[in-house]
């Protein structure tokens, strides 16, 4: 980590935000936000999706109790048409 990156992260933490990667995109979320809160921020209220955090599935039952951490990599997937 470069000094500039470290400073950026510190600035975010001061502002109460952390950076996570969701489906390949960098996103700011409030510090302490859970997976369920992230889904709410994206606008996925009660959908049929699955969530993977750092290559491990987060079961639906654990969405509300799984806090996000700086640098987490999340995949949020659903079913689409396919053959």
């Amino acid at each position: 980590m470069t000094q500039t990156e470290a400073q950026q992260i510190n600035a975010q933490i001061d502002a109460g935000q952390i950076a996570v990667e969701v489906n390949g995109e960098r996103r700011q979320v409030p510090q302490g936000a859970s997976v369920a809160e992230l889904l709410g921020l994206i606008g996925l209220a009660a959908p049929k999706v699955a969530v993977e955090r750092n290559l491990e599935i987060v079961p639906r039952s654990a969405w509300a109790t799984t806090p996000l951490a700086e640098g987490d990599r999340l995949e949020i997937v659903h079913f689409i048409g396919g053959g």
Binding site: V49, A50, I57, V77, H78, I80, G82, G83
Partner: protein, 269 residues
Amino acid sequence: MQADEGRVEEGRVEEGWTVAGRHFRSRLIVGTGRYKDLPETKAAIEASGAEIVTVAVRRVNLSDASQPMLQDFVSPDRFTYLPNTAGCFTAQDAVRTLRLAREAGGWNLVKLEVLGPPPFLYPDMAATFEAAAALLADGFEVMVYCADDPVAAKRLEEMGCVAIMPLGAPIGSGLGVANPFMIKAIIAQARVPVLVDAGIGTASDAALAMELGCDAVLLNSAIAHARDPVRMARAMKAAVEAGRDAFLAGRMPRSTAADPSSPTSGLIR
């Protein structure tokens, strides 16, 4: 008279097929991809009479999470969703994808496909074996897309796969059943359902696959890329039924010489 009645009765038998303990009347499984839009997907699937539909697992579009979803048009309450691993080129990706599918939908019955590189996307059998072993150990019921290779097919069955699905021809090629003899060989030795998956181009291809003795046929592009997908879906439904009936009825022997159908006696002179 008795025997004739029996025969008529036999012709009426509504049989269906069973995979992993689930019974289905339709022997046609259709994909839900490559349609113009979701209403067309819905109309074509309804016309096909299929009870199982394959679906892909993909990232949610974060910029527009409210866009219409497949489930709104093809209800998972009415159709059995069969999640696939399309686009997976490694065993690891395939297993990861199906674990997510199980979490999203709660389904254990899945379609495994691990593909080799373009231009053929031919099944990568080494990776398919690896992924199948991992999925079976994890409690999945695996319907497996595979090469038309009787040795590989038997091994997948012995591992515990619930259906063997050799390709008729490369995915989306529409070339039909390129090697009917190998498909027949796979069927002859199988104790689990065998489906021709991929390659079907038109109704006669589907009928041929069923005449070989397949339990069902899986296709997508042949319907979705037809000029009139809904009409082709209907044609496929009829073709699969006709092919199955022809298989059960037993075709007449081939002969190189003519054998007249009308009596040769009683001709006017």
